[in-house]
Subunit: 185 residues, 2 copies
DNA sequence: GAAGTTTCGATACCCAAGGTTTTGAAACCT
DNA sequence: AGGTTTCAAAACCTTGGGTATCGAAACTTC
């Protein structure tokens, strides 16, 4: 049982700066927008070296994805009925995308992924798949229906964000829920 | 009335190369993706100089928007009922986004616009507004409802395109129509 | 305490791509 | 012929993602 708690690996341990980097990433994206939130600026905002960021995240895209994973956390799948579960999930992701920097970062990394199959794979497997699986389980729907649901909800929220620069207002989120729910009876 | 038909401006007239540039833009984007479809490569594909492109379009974003305007053309608002009009419009834009290069170009310029308020303005006023006004007129819906409709339809189609790299299949476009129509009675 | 290993900060660097500038020639007008 | 605009070609600038190097710091084990 010597490896049940694997010994700390040799060498200098990493300092616990991930949270600081995530916070600086979101605030920098919020202030300057996605494209002008360069890795150099994010590093400067945290006070650490750019090389340290690239040692932990191989690309800017993976940094943003990890940052979003940290910002989102697990889906709260609350509610007694399927309708309540879907409704709360939609409002939850709408609220998250409305948080400062989150929507910009999401839309930005999403757009980078369009021309970058590697990043698309990261986005799909690390960010989308966990939520897709949780929703499949909670709603008892087949994969392609959940993928369609995610396309509709996230696509709509990001399109509004990208077109106006502002997150979707609550009235329109209500409309989104009202439109989606009947389709998934 | 000497200026009713304004005289041709002095100097060497522009050669009619816009169509060639648009075609080369779409094919280059289709082959290499949006980010790798550089202005230099597009120019090389047409055989004209990069400076000629920048003389006609101030930025890559405006070139792409003009290219999309040319590729889309006017919305066909056919059908006797509101349902038929909406259905045909949704299938029309889905088909256009599925054409080679169009979806990539659309998603790419859209994502650039996230961090670029100037490009966002161009995208909104030159590309979205004409279709929004035509739909408002044809469907008799207020502006915010049409904006919501565009967010849902275009957002969903682009999210699928960005996440998978492939346009949405017909079955899912059918589902999109089926979901949207009842909401707009 | 010394050797080995890994992280850190700093700096310099490479490369791609958007965009500008310059120059000389060509095409059109009056 | 002179004025004006467009064109192609080339050099150039800047930004930003990502890499390479180096010495110092922080741990481990022997």
């Amino acid at each position: 049982m010597t490896s049940s708690t694997p010994a700390r690996p040799p060498g200098r341990p990493r300092s616990g700066i991930n949270d600081v980097v995530f916070a600086a990433t979101l605030s920098t994206v919020h202030e300057l927008g996605y494209a002008r939130a360069t890795v150099e600026r994010i590093a400067a905002a945290t006070g650490i070296a750019k090389t340290t960021i690239y040692r932990r995240w191989p690309t800017k895209g993976t940094l943003i994805v990890d940052c979003l994973l940290d910002a989102f956390g697990p889906v709260p799948l609350e509610g007694d009925s399927r309708a309540e579960i879907m409704s709360s999930a939609i409002r939850w992701i709408a609220g998250k995308i409305g948080e400062p920097g989150v929507g910009d970062a999401f839309a930005g990394v999403f757009s980078d992924a369009v021309s970058d199959p590697g990043l698309r794979e990261v986005l799909s497997s690390r960010l989308q798949d966990p939520y897709r699986l949780a929703l499949q389980d909670a709603l008892g729907e087949p994969e392609h229906r959940i993928l369609f649901l995610i396309d509709v909800v996230v696509g709509t929220l990001l399109h509004r964000m990208g077109m106006t620069g502002e997150p979707m207002v609550d009235d329109d989120v209500d409309a989104l829920v009202e439109m989606v729910l009947p389709f998934f009876h």
